[in-house]
Amino acid sequence: MKLKLISVMIVLISGLAGNASGIESLRGMKPLDGSSGKVEVKKVPKDGDLIQRNYVQQPPLIPHKIDGYQINLDFNKCMSCHSWSRYKETGATKISQTHFKDRDGVDLATVSARRYFCTQCHVPQANAKPLVENTFKPVEAISQ
């Protein structure tokens, strides 16, 4: 109990000290219950070229707008272009075969439940600058 109390005290004191020393969070020197200021809503382009992947096995990014697309138990809008039965006609990238396996590696006839909600991994892109500097580089031998 005493130990717990001391650790809580340390966290609290270091928190206060941190603020005093001018360490800034990503949302700036703003009180927790305050607003972080005006945020510009980023716009996703209507359509674009395929976006290069940044690293091996990165889920391909969505190069178009997906506003209002229905992805639920009843229907998956993405599949009306990206399914194997439609991709040729629509010119879309077809859904990967890996998406038809369950977590035990068993092949399925339909998209696996764990892969069904496309936007869990695949996302559209907006022209947003990174919040922090990033020096990440992909492994050369297996990129490109």
Partner: protein, 192 residues
């Protein structure tokens, strides 16, 4: 005897008075009819039933026909009721069936609605297709569609669709409401 008595009663009024009376009565009745008709052609009227308000209206609120950058909206009757008089009256008379099912409570719970929504959607898709998506074209006219201003995917789909003589609803199902389970097969089987 009776008829001559009636003629006698009417004869009390001059032709001018009768004509004037007829005109006034006509304005009141015809005006009243059109007023009532217009009243049933509003979104407010449509969502006065919880069946519409709790189901289709909620879904529609997330779509571009409800909420968009310019604030131009297409409300329920813009898509679901024909604009010109003859077709409007025909549709309004058909809608008496909807009143009947309102009384029966055919879709008065979410579960019942979900059970019936594929059938209901098929009805509307059939109607739309049979009139060459007339209600869509009240606003969206191929003639004035500027393909240059469209996105790449839209240009491809629209120019191909135009070549194949497709109608809006052939591709744009679920544009303002969510699509029910198994709709693709059902629509295909129904030739939609």
């Amino acid at each position: 005897m009776n008829s001559s008595k009636k003629t006698g009663r009417l004869a009390k009024y001059s032709a001018g008075t009768l004509l004037l009376g007829g005109i006034v009565l006509g304005i009141i009745l015809w005006g009243g009819f059109n007023w009532a008709l217009a009243l049933t052609n509003t979104e407010k009227f449509c969502i006065s039933c919880h069946e519409m308000k709790d189901n289709v209206y909620q879904e529609y609120k997330n779509t571009i026909h409800y909420n968009n950058r310019t604030g131009v909206r297409a409300t329920c009757p813009d898509c679901h009721v024909p604009k010109d008089w003859t077709h409007k009256i025909v549709r309004k008379i058909q809608a008496s069936n909807e009143l009947y099912h309102k009384l029966l409570g055919t879709i008065d719970t979410r579960e019942k609605f979900k059970e019936h929504r594929l059938e209901l959607a098929l009805h509307e898709w059939k109607r739309m297709k049979s009139v060459n998506s007339r209600e869509c074209r009240n606003c969206h006219d191929y003639e004035y569609m500027d393909f240059v201003a469209e996105g790449r995917r839209a240009v491809k789909a629209h120019s191909e669709g135009l070549d194949q003589g497709k109608t809006c609803i052939d591709c744009h199902k679920g544009i303002a409401h969510q699509l029910p389970k198994g709709w693709e097969k059902a629509a295909k089987d129904a030739g939609l």
